[in-house]
Symmetry: C2
Subunit: 189 residues, 2 copies
DNA sequence: GCACCATACTCAAGAAAATGACTAATCACA
DNA sequence: TGTGATTAGTCATTTTCTTGAGTATGGTGC
């Protein structure tokens, strides 16, 4: 079980429809999980069948009707059970790393390009996360917020996401530079 | 397609049996991909059927016979095609992050424990990667090696793995400290 | 007034990954 | 003498993830 707990975690912060959840997943929760709308709908249906979330129909006039979901007591219990269980170590699993691994054996040009694109994408995400963090902590400074804020969970995971993206950006830039330099010295030599 | 390219990348550095590959995956390649032996055997069989790797039987007397695989020209071409194609952005996907996200809503004690375990595991991996890096670069210092070494691909991916683990360790420790402090101030107040 | 975008969702099919159980030989050790 | 570790691998099943297409309504811009 995996996505189910990410969904439960996301729903802890409010009532969402499948559609809203799909949007919400792209900010906040997306730092540690990514899923397509279809998966979320499917997961919500399963969770509802098992009584871990409860849906209620909301009739709308100007928009199609929707179903809002919230976590039930059973769902909260399931999350607690999950939090107490051991979790497997995390790893990266990134296509780009496979490409870098073989970059000096096959063509490097395309890999360098992709590294730069990734660095830019990471930069964009860094800004986004920075804004999100400022928003989450409001007026308080970080230390203060972490000591006394009521809801720090999302903040803590965003911090991880931020660190990951910064690390990723720096690595991409450095590796791109290394490969570029080797490319030019090879061309000269 | 995903694991297949990681396997091809790993096989670029030599001839391996499925069994050896499974071991090799736990060092080196494991920085960006993780797979169980069964998956590797299955993938090797598929790759062989498609002509991307070639296996040869090696009869052994003291051990069960084995099949060693190496990448074919078609396999190398496939890797090149893969390296040139765009790859999806990477993300973290870690159970522990889900747990931290909800830690302030449900019990924190178990999460703190897990954070500490993770920090220790990361520490161990950092040392391992440090050794691996020293081994890969031999006598040269890093700058020099990256400029003139012949096979830098694995070194570059290990650098990413190292940074990831360091980041992970630092985050785990900090978050554990934050949660611990909140736990004690709650108990007092 | 028509094309396109946003909301809100469903269905079906397939590829990829994870899990569990199992065979079979040799070697180290106690 | 037999218990367990190591090498070397297979088979079957399930879960998870991805891909692609389709339905329906209302609002926006040109």
């Amino acid at each position: 079980m995996a996505l189910r707990h990410a969904v439960l975690a996301a729903l802890l912060d409010g009532e969402y429809s499948g559609y809203q959840l799909a949007k919400a997943f792209d900010i906040g929760v997306a730092n540690f999980w990514h899923a397509l709308p279809q998966q979320l709908y499917a997961e919500l249906a399963k969770l509802e069948k098992e009584g871990l979330v409860a849906g209620r129909q909301v009739v709308q006039e100007t928009r199609p009707n929707k179903r809002l979901f919230q976590v039930t007591d059973a769902g909260r219990a399931e999350l607690e059970k999950f939090a107490a269980a051991v979790s497997k170590p995390s790893f990266i699993r990134d296509d780009l790393l496979v490409k870098v691994q073989v970059a000096d054996r096959i063509g490097t040009a395309s890999v360098i390009e992709q590294l730069q694109e990734r660095a830019s994408a990471a930069e964009a995400k860094i800004e986004l996360l920075g804004k999100l963090l400022r928003q989450l902590r409001g007026d308080a400074d970080e230390e203060e917020f972490l000591r006394r804020g009521e809801r720090i969970g999302p903040y803590l995971t965003c911090l991880r996401g931020l660190a990951f993206e910064q690390e990723h950006r720096d690595w991409c830039r450095r590796i791109a530079a290394v490969l570029r330099e080797r490319q030019s010295t090879h061309a000269e030599g």
